[in-house]
């Protein structure tokens, strides 16, 4: 695997990523964020740019299975990493259960925040499973149950300008209840 390296020119890097199960190799300006690498260089435009400063959650993707804000990370920092975006979670004919639940519960209006919401929700389910506490957790040492306050707290970094929150919460609760 190619290591990210400072090449001859000022600030250029070679980055090898596995994105949605495909190996990709990019020659980038060192300033390119993971978000811009996905959108502008790999043309995976499902992941959205809202604020570019870690405030809105629209850029949420999974890196090595964990959710992060792609806008506050350099592509170079992800050389060798495995990235999953909304395009990789499911396909129109084979939706991820969280994607299907968002449709069933009408959990979006304009849809701009939706890819980030869905990636975040997928990760929240795994975090609960792994015993990661949240601000809403009562007993830190007991297993976490994803009740309404837990769910709302854990999804609070995904802002929805359309205010589809109650349907988003129902969609995620639906999937959590089934697992």
């Amino acid at each position: 695997m190619a290591r990210a390296q400072a090449a001859g020119t000022m600030g250029s890097v070679v980055v090898a990523l596995t994105v949605n199960d495909e190996r990709r190799r990019l020659d980038l300006d060192s300033r390119v964020t993971l978000l811009d690498a996905l959108r502008e260089h790999l043309h995976l435009t499902g992941t959205k740019k809202g604020c570019d400063h870690g405030h809105c959650g629209a850029c949420t993707v999974l890196v090595n299975g964990v959710r992060i804000n792609a806008c506050l990370s350099l592509a170079a920092m992800h050389d060798g990493d495995v990235v999953t975006t909304i395009e990789g979670l499911g396909r129109p004919d084979r939706l991820h259960p969280v994607q299907a639940a968002f449709i069933a519960h009408d959990a979006f209006q304009c849809g701009y925040c939706t890819p980030g919401q869905i990636c975040s929700a997928v990760a929240v389910l795994a975090e609960v499973e792994a015993g990661v506490p949240s601000h809403a957790t009562g007993d830190l040492t007991a297993p976490v149950t994803l009740d309404t306050s837990e769910l709302r707290e854990r999804m609070s970094a995904n802002i929805c300008r359309c205010g589809a929150y109650s349907n988003i919460a129902e969609a995620v609760a639906d999937v959590a209840g089934r697992s």
Partner: protein, 316 residues
């Protein structure tokens, strides 16, 4: 962002040497604070040394019963660690009261301790700020000061330390371990890690250029009831207006530190000795000599109420 070169450090020694030998070089860990500031051109490093892949991520038991948290352990990993949840609950609570799930997955222990302040004028690059441009003046004085510090400030800067985790580390008597460019290691008590502004507000910590934080160690668990209460403008996902970290023992003694009120986590040992006399006595002593502005004087009574709430829960 200004152009910069990037390298991934192969070892801690190489990382230290790379930053120490190049003017304008900086470590990058999670990047959640540094990149944010680089986008505003408040930080303009010429070279980034990525330390994320160094073997400094583990969380290990210490022979004396304490815990050693690697500098690169993420906020999520620390908060989810079984011993942190069981024995250092105030730390888990403070971490999950900060930032967001996404950010905590990226934010590292060292990066969190070294996050810069959130003064609105520090972010507004068209206005003077002594932290951003030493000697240019402080726009906050006479400006909007609601979020800023009330104690430990100077006429040159009244920014508060915005972190949550550090407030818990302060009541836990944590120690920061570093390695210096000459290869020597040192241990810095958490109480000495964040500097008061004085007349050099741009100097925020005692680290030399290239000095790498390698770990944070905690002494044996203090026992007692652990609480972290954060008062903020939204119920989730906002910086503290006031926060309070408390470890309370059954006999009514304990430790108290406040966040959001000073340039460092604010713990006054003589004040916490007054815990058995109640929150008013503790806050009066802890905020003695405070110099709040008209815009943030409310933080002192708010700190008292936050402490009163925590104490009433702790004894219930």
């Amino acid at each position: 962002m200004r152009p910069f070169t990037y390298e991934r450090a192969a070892s801690a020694e190489a990382a230290v040497a790379a930053v120490a030998s190049r003017p304008g070089a900086r470590f990058i860990a999670g990047g959640t604070n540094l990149l944010d500031l680089m986008k505003f051109q408040i930080e303009t490093p010429a070279h980034l040394v990525d330390i994320r892949h160094l073997p400094l991520r583990g969380i290990e038991d210490l022979p004396d019963g304490g815990l050693r948290i690697g500098a690169l352990a993420t906020n999520t990993e620390v908060a989810a660690h079984p011993r942190v949840k069981r024995e250092y609950g105030v730390l888990a609570r403070a971490i999950v009261a900060g930032a967001t799930g996404q950010l905590r997955n990226k934010a590292t222990t060292a990066g969190n301790l070294l996050q810069r302040n959130r003064c609105p004028y520090f972010y507004e690059t068209s206005l003077p700020c002594n932290k951003r441009q030493p000697g240019s003046g402080c726009s906050a004085l006479g400006g909007v000061t609601r979020s800023l510090a009330v104690v430990g400030t100077s006429p040159h800067c009244i920014a508060q330390n915005p972190g949550d985790m550090a407030v818990a580390l302060r009541v836990l008597d944590a120690t920061v371990e570093t390695v210096r460019p000459d290869g020597s290691q040192r241990r810095i008590a958490i109480g000495d890690f964040h500097l008061l502004p004085g007349d050099r507000p741009e100097i925020e910590h005692p680290l030399a250029p290239g000095e790498l934080v390698t770990a944070v160690t905690l002494p044996r668990p203090p026992g007692g009831t652990h609480r972290y209460h954060k008062v903020r403008d939204r119920a989730s996902y906002a910086f503290a207006i006031v926060s309070v970290a408390v470890v309370l023992q059954e006999d009514g003694t304990g430790r108290v530190a406040f966040g959001g009120v000073a340039p460092r986590p604010w713990r006054v040992e003589d004040a916490e000795a007054l815990l058995p006399s109640g929150p008013a006595a503790v806050v009066a002593a802890a905020f003695q000599g405070a110099t709040p502005t008209a815009g943030n004087a409310f933080k002192i009574p708010l700190a008292e109420r936050a402490l009163a709430l925590v104490l009433s829960e702790g004894r219930a």
